[in-house]
């Protein structure tokens, strides 16, 4: 009788486990598999396979870090932001529009040395007239107008493009400035695209 009483919970536990999700893989084994998956990568590309601490934390937490971890990520990422030396963050919105449209750069199929775009429209609505926009990120239509074209709001935009994780740990948005995908001038031009009074993004 005692044997049966013990056996039932053990068996039902086993059956439940069989239907539950498989347990998570050992991170060391995952990294070993990843390294083997990209073993033929050219030398110059190897660094992309290796994670930095923020990528590692966001991957393991599936982009939902605990509050203390999130705070640590944001503090670390905020420390990477470099503002323009003269403090001006507004560039040319026309060039910004082209950068927002441009999805080139960074792929192994790209010609070497091709300038990267921001590919902003892949994820965001921006100029309301552009209908071919993604929905992975929030709409940015009328962004500057909704913030009264404020100087501080413009600095926030510059910082957001430079490193989105400074204000939102594990944000899906690439850290364009930190990872040197976009340079200072490109980030200023995109900031203008969102913040300039005459930008079509803020058209009435």
């Amino acid at each position: 009788m005692r044997v049966v009483l013990i056996a039932i919970p053990v068996l039902s536990g086993f059956l439940a486990a069989a239907h539950a999700e498989t347990p998570r893989a050992d991170p060391a084994l995952v990294e070993k598999t990843v390294a083997a998956t990209f073993s033929q990568a050219p030398e110059a590309w190897r660094a992309r396979v290796v994670q930095d601490e923020t990528q590692r934390q966001c991957s393991l937490s599936r982009n939902e870090p605990a509050p203390a971890e999130a705070a640590a990520i944001q503090a670390r990422e905020a420390g990477t932001i470099v503002y323009p030396a003269d403090g001006g963050v507004i560039g040319d919105w026309r060039r910004g529009a082209a950068i927002a449209q441009n999805g080139q750069g960074g792929q192994f199929s790209d010609a070497p040395g091709v300038a990267s775009g921001g590919n902003c429209y892949a994820c965001h609505q921006i100029d309301p007239k552009e209908i071919s926009h993604g929905t992975l990120g929030p709409t940015l239509a009328g962004y500057g107008k909704s913030r009264d074209f404020g100087a501080e709001a413009a600095r926030v935009v510059y910082a957001k493009i430079f490193n989105a994780q400074a204000t939102w740990a594990c944000s899906s948005m690439p850290r364009f400035g930190h990872n040197r995908v976009l340079n200072e001038q490109q980030i200023k031009d995109l900031t203008a695209y969102l913040m300039a009074r005459d930008s079509p993004v803020n058209a009435p």
């Binding site: 498989t22 347990p23 998570r24 893989a25 991170p27 084994l29 995952v30 598999t33 990843v34 083997a36 998956t37 990209f38 073993s39 033929q40 990568a41 050219p42 590309w45 190897r46 992309r48 396979v49 290796v50 994670q51 923020t54 990528q55 966001c58 991957s59 599936r62 982009n63 960074g106 792929q107 192994f108 199929s109 429209y121 892949a122 994820c123 209908i131 071919s132 926009h133 993604g134 929905t135 992975l136 899906s172 690439p174 850290r175 990872n179 040197r180 995908v181």
Partner: protein, 269 residues
């Protein structure tokens, strides 16, 4: 000429205004059913070539692949693809169809596989033995339900590795697979993005329809190619062909697509 007009139509659908989206989707559905006809889908040319490759005596041993065990016994084709990837005791490894074919080419045929790997992805004037064989073998599971086994501990471990890789962020844009395929109802530009993080119709629709004839590439493509292309878009280096990481991702995706009806080779933009 016919393929040109179909590709133009499929490309047009990718750029039409959202307002016209619904009407276009009806149109594309009509075209899909039209070209799903084996007489119209060029993917079936790959099926025919694959059948010849399966039965051709090749390699220093001058034998065909017909003694290759794809999981259901030597030479059994019907239903084999529906249960791949799976664990193979003779290799002590979880293998997808291409890894298994590669294993058989070496073990059974002693084939010089350098050429097979060089032609892993077909292109203009260059067919791929692997794409052709996969099209032929997958088609032998036509109408069956996808049921990738997760009984062997290595199969479960492989699924877990694949799941972790799906969420693993890396490279200059911090992307993981989940960046684009982690939520319901999202788009890149106008392209709808299936959510692969959970079991459901989106995972089933996708995994049940590969291999597929890509009109924009004029080639029949396998999941190995699709994942290679995903990593390209993620700004990662190209993953190694036949690597265990791609198989792990495939197992994870297939586990969320359990019960999918296999309809291959399909045809996509």
């Amino acid at each position: 000429m016919r393929w040109v007009s179909i590709s133009l139509l499929l490309l047009l659908v990718a750029v039409v205004p959202v307002a016209a989206q619904e009407e276009s989707e009806k149109e594309i559905e009509r075209y899909r059913s039209m070209i799903a006809d084996p007489m119209a889908n060029p993917g079936y040319l790959a099926v025919d070539r694959g059948e010849k490759l399966w039965t051709a005596a090749r390699g220093t041993k001058n034998v065909s692949l017909e003694r290759c065990d794809l999981g259901l016994g030597a030479g059994v084709l019907e239903g084999a693809y529906a249960k791949l990837p799976r664990y193979f005791a003779d290799a002590d490894r979880v293998m997808d169809l291409e890894q298994r074919l590669f294993f058989c080419m070496r073990a059974l045929q002693d084939l010089d596989t350098k050429d097979v790997v060089a032609r892993r992805f077909g292109g203009p004037g260059k067919t791929s033995d692997m794409e052709d064989l996969v099209a032929f073998i997958a088609n032998k599971s036509q109408g069956m339900k996808l049921a990738v086994p997760l009984t062997h501990p290595k199969e479960r471990e492989t699924r877990a590795i694949g799941e972790a890789m799906f969420f693993r962020r890396s490279a200059i844009n911090d992307f993981s697979c989940a960046t684009c395929h982690g939520e319901d109802g999202r788009r890149i530009r106008l392209q709808a993005l299936p959510n692969f993080t959970k079991p459901g119709p989106e995972a089933r629709e996708t995994m049940g329809s590969w291999p597929t004839y890509r009109v924009s590439q004029s080639q029949t493509r396998t999941m190995q190619h699709r994942l290679w292309d995903c990593y390209r878009q993620m700004r990662m280096p190209g993953p190694d062909y036949l690597s265990d990481g791609l198989t792990a991702l495939t197992v994870f995706l297939a586990s969320n697509a359990e019960g999918a009806t296999i309809a291959v080779p399909s045809i996509k933009r």
